[in-house]
């Protein structure tokens, strides 16, 4: 089936049958079919998680998840967007926490209900080992939970599938902040440079350049030493 030179496929957007070019992403296919997104679209490049989508393929019982901006349509695909997943992010004072298992259990006690069924991992469009980072948090391995969850976009698909009703991405977020703040800690050379700036160490040099005419400044720029090798 072709139309204006495009190979076409049939998809079902929330059950409504649409004919769309075969090489489009789900997002573009929905736009082609006349939708203008208000919810359910964000960066359009796989970096924000606004366009979480579930679908079933023709002849398959499996409910699969994807980001609409990253997944190409297939003939017979039945699509529903999940642009919002209900969750309560607990609030905490980051300066008063400890990087340990009890912190996770205090704020998100439901993680103890994890069945280790791996449904979250299978639902993740980023191929993150979601169950493994939830289990890491449960064990108090903050570093492992932070590292494994790092590529999470917070799209919500794992939380929508979890039979224990855990919201894994909130656990990941807490783990990463604990890792940076309490395990890695501040960077010495950054703190040192902040002090130097405060003391005015660079003020005279910068003020001199601010007053330079363009010719002098451009000569200085064009002859500056490059130290990047």
């Amino acid at each position: 089936m072709t139309e204006n030179g495009n190979k076409m496929v049939t998809i079902y957007v929330m059950g409504k049958k649409q004919k769309v070019p075969a090489d489009l992403t789900i997002m573009k296919a929905m736009e082609y079919a006349g939708h203008q997104f208000r919810r359910g679209a964000g960066c359009r490049g796989g970096f924000c998680g606004a366009c979480a989508t579930v679908y079933r393929k023709k002849g398959s019982y499996k409910l699969q998840g994807a980001l609409a901006c990253q997944k190409i349509v297939e003939d017979g695909m039945i699509i529903a967007q999940i642009p919002f997943s209900p969750q309560e992010k607990v609030t905490y004072k980051i300066n008063e926490l400890k990087a340990e298992a009890n912190t996770f259990l205090e704020y998100y006690p439901e993680i103890a209900r994890c069945l280790a069924c791996n449904t979250c991992t299978k639902a993740c469009p980023q191929d993150i080992m979601v169950m493994d980072y939830v289990q890491s948090a449960l064990r108090g391995d903050v570093t492992q939970a932070a590292k494994l969850s790092f590529d999470c976009l917070g799209c919500g698909l794992c939380a929508m599938r979890c039979p224990a009703e855990i919201v894994p991405y909130n656990i990941g977020q807490l783990a990463r902040r604990l890792e940076s703040k309490y395990i890695e800690g501040p960077t010495e050379h950054v703190l040192k440079r902040c002090e130097e700036v405060k003391e005015g160490k660079f003020d005279a040099e910068i003020e001199e350049m601010m007053k330079m005419d363009k010719a002098t400044l451009s000569k200085k720029y064009n002859t500056r030493e490059m130290k990047i090798k």
Partner: protein, 551 residues
């Protein structure tokens, strides 16, 4: 490449083989020398899209009348407001706050946190955003953020790189603020819990970027913007600051003292208008990538429709440097589904070199972005050394397999998780095969003029982030937009909090919209266009990518 199935069509295989054959000698040659100042000026004039004739026109009216801007920008400025003053009942105030923040990217979030830290109660700060909390170009930044914090670097050297890269058009006092605040921004991020990439000794990884004379780019894999934004969002929620999602501003409200005193809000879902009154208003709406200047594909977020410059201009704010637009050298050119999306500059910072269809080097890989982009256009169009994609785009190779030859195996999956994943979905393993790239519309270099306190020429209106002009002159360097967001977002939050302590709001008015109509009429602008446009139009056939008319 035995046993490996290529993600590229058969007709490209010969060229891919040439790239692989020359990889060793290209690497040992250490690339090509940087251009001289004269060569740079010449290539810009001949090949940069900013220099192409008939693509810009002077703004017809208003305080920056006569300033050359892209036609697409003139179109949204020379347009009627969405609302008439008579449509809105200013006596019915829905939200009455000390600080109103429009936009929830890096600049808006930083402003909100700093307004709170400077004494504004959390229920007296209101942040609104057109899409979700934290959804913005800020989140899409891959490569990193600059800060001169190593022993061989200094804010002074950073200053020189910024102002030279910007062609000396930058406002010096804004550059001073940018480079001097930079180390403190990194310190602040680490206190909040941002996971920066570190060396085994605990020091920050420092990466090279185009136009930088030192390695000073800091990264969080290639999800730098995502990592910083989600930490700021988490903290924003922790502090309980008021926020409304899926609500846009359509115009500012002014008062009898000629100050900005809030905004008319528009609920994107119920399509109702709301009145927000504020003592200080911070504009942090980002840039205009989704206007598709000159038909270019863009790396930008769905919401990047230039709303902020329109709203500010109607209040009488001055614009600057909007004649220059940033085209990122390495937008994806293949496969079709990801055309225009960003292939981070960090790839070149970590060793990938651009080569033509014969596998030959043709430009120093870390020129400032405008120069680098111009050289890719020259290679494809004047020298005809580009690869032509199945949809008719021209492109050059970025030889990503070089990265692991230089830095060792594992680097790509570790440092370029997003890029590796995005290309793998389309059957391309960037560890083994190069990628096709061509310049893509990336950044609004200019915008609303501010001073180092983020004040505009209109009292009560503060601006931060990509919506502003002056920080980057006529060309921004890699990693300085992430930095800009936090430097000026934090300054805006502080300045707006201070201003709110002493400000008093007069009688609310939308008379400036009537004045704008008079400006349009006097300038002879006859049009049905309305702005801000709020969302780009991609329905129906507009979904399909249009081809570029480059030269």
């Amino acid at each position: 490449m035995s046993g490996y199935i290529s993600g590229y069509p058969e007709y490209m295989q010969d060229s891919i083989r040439k790239v692989a054959e020359k990889r060793g000698s290209n690497l040992s040659s250490h690339g090509i020398n940087a251009m001289t100042a004269e060569e740079r000026q010449s290539i810009l004039e001949h090949f940069h899209p900013d220099w192409k004739p008939n693509m810009k026109r002077p703004i017809a009216m208003g305080p920056s009348k006569g300033m050359m801007v892209p036609n697409e920008v003139a179109d949204i400025l020379e347009a009627h407001p969405l609302i008439k003053p008579s449509d809105i009942d200013l006596n019915h105030i829905d939200y009455d706050v000390e600080v109103l923040i429009i936009g929830a990217g890096g600049a808006g979030l930083s402003a909100a946190l700093l307004a709170q830290e400077n004494g504004v109660p959390v229920d007296q700060i209101l942040m609104i955003q057109k899409l979700r909390l934290g959804d913005a170009n800020s989140k899409m930044s891959q490569g990193g953020i600059q800060a001169a914090d190593s022993s061989i670097d200094s804010p002074s050297i950073h200053y020189l790189d910024v102002i030279g890269g910007g062609h000396y058009a930058n406002k010096p006092d804004l550059v001073e603020a940018l480079v001097k605040d930079a180390p403190d921004v990194i310190k602040w991020h680490e206190e909040l819990g941002v996971m920066y990439d570190k060396n085994p000794d605990g020091s920050l990884l420092e990466i090279a970027g185009g136009g930088t004379s030192r390695r000073r780019m800091h990264s969080c894999k290639d999800y730098t913007g995502l990592e910083i934004t989600r930490v700021l969002v988490d903290e924003f929620i922790n502090r309980g600051i008021s926020n409304i999602e899926f609500t846009s501003a359509v115009d500012f409200i002014m008062d009898s003292k000629n100050q900005v005193a809030g905004a008319v809000l528009f609920d994107m879902e119920t399509e109702e208008y709301r009145v927000a009154r504020a003592k200080s208003t911070i504009l942090a709406t980002g840039g205009f990538g989704r206007l598709h200047i000159q038909g270019f594909a863009t790396t930008n977020h769905y919401g990047a429709t230039g709303d902020g410059i329109v709203m500010a201009y109607r209040t009488g704010a001055i614009l600057r440097d909007l004649d220059s637009t940033q085209y990122h050298p390495t937008g994806a050119a293949y496969p079709e589904q990801i055309v225009g999306q960003l292939a981070t500059e960090k790839l070149r910072g970590r060793g990938a070199l651009p080569v033509n269809k014969n596998g030959e080097l043709f430009v120093y890989h870390l020129e400032p972005r405008d120069i680098e982009s111009s050289s890719y256009i020259r290679e494809c169009y004047e020298r005809d050394n580009g690869i032509i994609t199945p949809t008719g785009m021209r492109a050059v190779w970025l030889d990503t397999p070089m990265i692991e030859i230089v830095t060792g195996p594992g680097t790509i999956e570790r440092e370029f998780a997003a890029m590796f994943r995005n290309f793998k979905k389309f059957g391309i393993d960037i560890r083994k095969e190069p990628i096709l790239v061509f310049p893509t519309l990336h950044y609004q270099n200019g915008g609303v003029e501010i001073n180092p306190n983020t004040e505009t020429s209109v009292p009560g209106l503060f601006c931060a982030g990509e919506v502003c002009g002056g920080v980057h002159g006529k060309n921004r360097l890699m990693g300085n937009s992430q930095l800009d967001l936090y430097v000026f977002g934090r300054r805006a939050g502080k300045a707006a909090a201070e201003h709110a302590k002493n400000a008093s709001v007069g009688k609310l008015t939308l008379a400036h919209l009537d004045r704008y109509e008079r400006w349009l009429a006097k300038a002879g602008v006859k049009t049905d266009r309305k702005s801000p446009i709020l969302l780009p139009e991609y329905r129906g056939k507009k979904t399909l990518e249009h081809k570029l008319n480059i030269l």
